[in-house]
Amino acid sequence: MIRKILTIFSFFTIISVSALYADQKKIGFIYIGPPGDHGWTYMHDQGRIYMENALGDSISTTYIENVPENADAVRAIRKLAASGHDLIFTTSFNYMDQTLEVAKEFPDVKFEHATGFKRMDNVSTYSARFYEGRTIIGHIAGKMTKTNTIGYIVSFPIPEVIRGINAFYLAAAKVNPDVKIKIIWNYSWYDPGKEADAANTLINQGADIIVQHTDSYAPCQAAEKAGVLAFGQASNQEAFCPNAHMTSIEDIWGPYYAAKAQAVVDGTWGSEDTWQGFKDGMVEMSPYNTKLLPLDIILEAKNMETAIENGTLHSFEGPIYNQAGELVVKEGEVADDGMLAGMMFYVQGIDGEVPQ
């Protein structure tokens, strides 16, 4: 008897709960690392939390962390799609084909792929113009380096990373033509030990500024220990290396995530490509470290931020030559988004070759 009552009771509970949440949209995230990396994934997770706070009960969110960029990603994305999610954010470049594969199977589910360039009716792409931030730190590095050697730790040879290296170098060489950058490819986004090794190797070879395009704060920490300067990555990392950290390029995803989730709730979501920078607030600089940077350099950096926002300054202003000495951007012109999106070459002045 009791069992029967319980069964009936739970049946009604399920009905009432599902009625209550019938309109609630489920939004899923695929993360490349753990939200605790205090870098790339951390900022996406901050965006997710921002979205939850902004939209309240009209949405619920789920995330799967540490998803490798291989066939496992298909399984993870499909798992979210098959479990009733309405909108799925896949937050790393190499989820690109996997996202499309699942999107074909689930035409009613909306997908948002970060930093990619392949779209479908139900797949949007979005990215931030991180390279605008790289221009700022390049300028600072060019002015601050004493050894004229800058160490740059990178993950994988993809356009986003190479664009960052070029933007950084162009800005640094503009204020300091003697500047040299030493590049180490780690072939991983996240391996604190290896990132520390790379930073120490670069410092050992004479670099007095460490720049990173990997996700942990180990390089900044290594710089702190060795008494050289560094820039953080993706989020404000000053707490971990207060005497080395000059500034970081921060990724601000929250407002974009909230807008796209709102579009799904309203039924107005459409496939599009979004690429925003300083102007729309998707990229921000962490507070400049006044202990390390002279006031005039901070002012210059802030003016550059404003100029980029206004459109009076562009990270890729001609004339720009590639390593072979060919003119790729003419004088008076700027690189168009197509060239930036597929950028797989170094500009003139950078030593070494882009790995294939």
Binding site: G33, P34, G36, D37, H38, E65, N66, G151, K182, I183, I184, W185, N186, Y187, S188, Y190, D191, P192, G193, K194, E195, A196, D197, A198, N200, T201, L202, N204, Q205, S216, Y217, A218, Q221, A222, K225, A239, F240, D351, G352, E353, P355
Partner: protein
């Protein structure tokens, strides 16, 4: 090349290779007694997070190391109970231990991730790691207990018939291996990259496992192998920074490739395989046989 540069490179090699030596030498002793423990990665991560949390809470490096070791004793004790008393499959249990360790360390460390700490000087542990290889080498070849461990690993039935306590011996070696792995984890989160982030050992447990095979179960070769792996990784970074073009992906798979080559080499000759691998490795021991 100037000497400062070379000393700098050696310094980085020493710092980055030491966790491999600790975890590898522990696993070597475990495997010498005939037990394959694939849980190194999990043990290292739990050791790393326990040490980190203790340091954040107490600010004492000694407690931090102590609790890190305790975590290794507990986890490897559970592993030993499963494979020795309940006779579960060693490979499956070891993999489960790794997966469990990854999850447990992430859960424990969630609140502590991103807490800045003061790192510990690594040189003491680097010194200990060399000493350890010497002691283990001496212990396995020159002491009675060492010979008993090897006898148990070669043929547990004969060792049992001679009156040696197979289960007890293997408990000891498994727990020794567990403690060494947790010290490797402690070293990573407190000395090497002083921080806690999920999954921060990034596959070093697997490289340590590969090392044991690469070293054909010999302590000194393990030390040499570890420094070859570590040295190659750091050298390729140095060459990259100088501007030499190198296939970085290739160097990432080097440790595993080298291990496969050694395996092929020692497996090509039955006798050579017999001389190298403990014969009872990965075989459960039943008393009533």
């Amino acid at each position: 090349m100037n000497t400062d540069l070379i000393i700098g490179i050696l310094n980085i090699v020493l710092i980055s290779t030491t966790p491999l030596v600790f975890a590898g030498i522990g696993e070597l002793v475990t495997e010498k007694s005939g037990v394959l423990n694939l849980g190194l990665e999990g043990l290292m991560l739990v050791g790393a997070v326990t040490g980190f949390i203790t340091l954040v809470l107490t600010g004492n490096y000694f407690y931090s190391l102590f609790f890190s070791i305790i975590s290794g004793v507990i986890l490897s004790g559970i592993f030993a109970f499963l494979v020795l008393n309940l006779m579960t499959n060693q490979i499956a249990t070891g993999l489960a231990l790794t997966i469990f360790g990854i999850g447990l360390s992430a859960m424990l460390g969630k609140k502590f991730s991103g807490t800045p700490i003061e790192g510990l000087n690594p040189y003491f542990f680097i010194l200990i790691s060399f000493l350890l290889v010497f002691l283990v080498s001496y212990f396995l070849s020159k002491t009675k207990s060492g010979l008993i461990i090897r006898a148990v690993g070669e043929n547990h039935n004969s060792a049992y018939a001679l009156g040696y306590n197979v289960i007890k011996t293997r408990y000891m070696t498994i727990i020794f291996g567990g403690v060494m792995s947790s010290i490797a984890g402690f070293y990573i989160s407190i000395c090497y990259a002083p921080m806690w982030q999920e999954g921060m050992t990034a596959g070093r447990g697997w490289i340590a496992l590969a090392l044991v095979v690469f070293a054909t179960w010999k302590p000194w070769r393990l030390l040499v192998g570890a420094y070859i792996f570590g040295g190659v990784a750091i050298m390729q970074m140095n060459l990259q920074a100088i501007g030499v073009k190198l296939p970085g992906q290739f160097f990432n798979m080097m440790p595993y490739l080298a291990t496969i080559i050694v395996l092929v080499f020692i497996s090509s000759n039955k006798l050579r395989l017999k001389l190298s691998a403990p014969a009872s490795l990965n075989i459960s021991f039943e008393k009533n046989q």
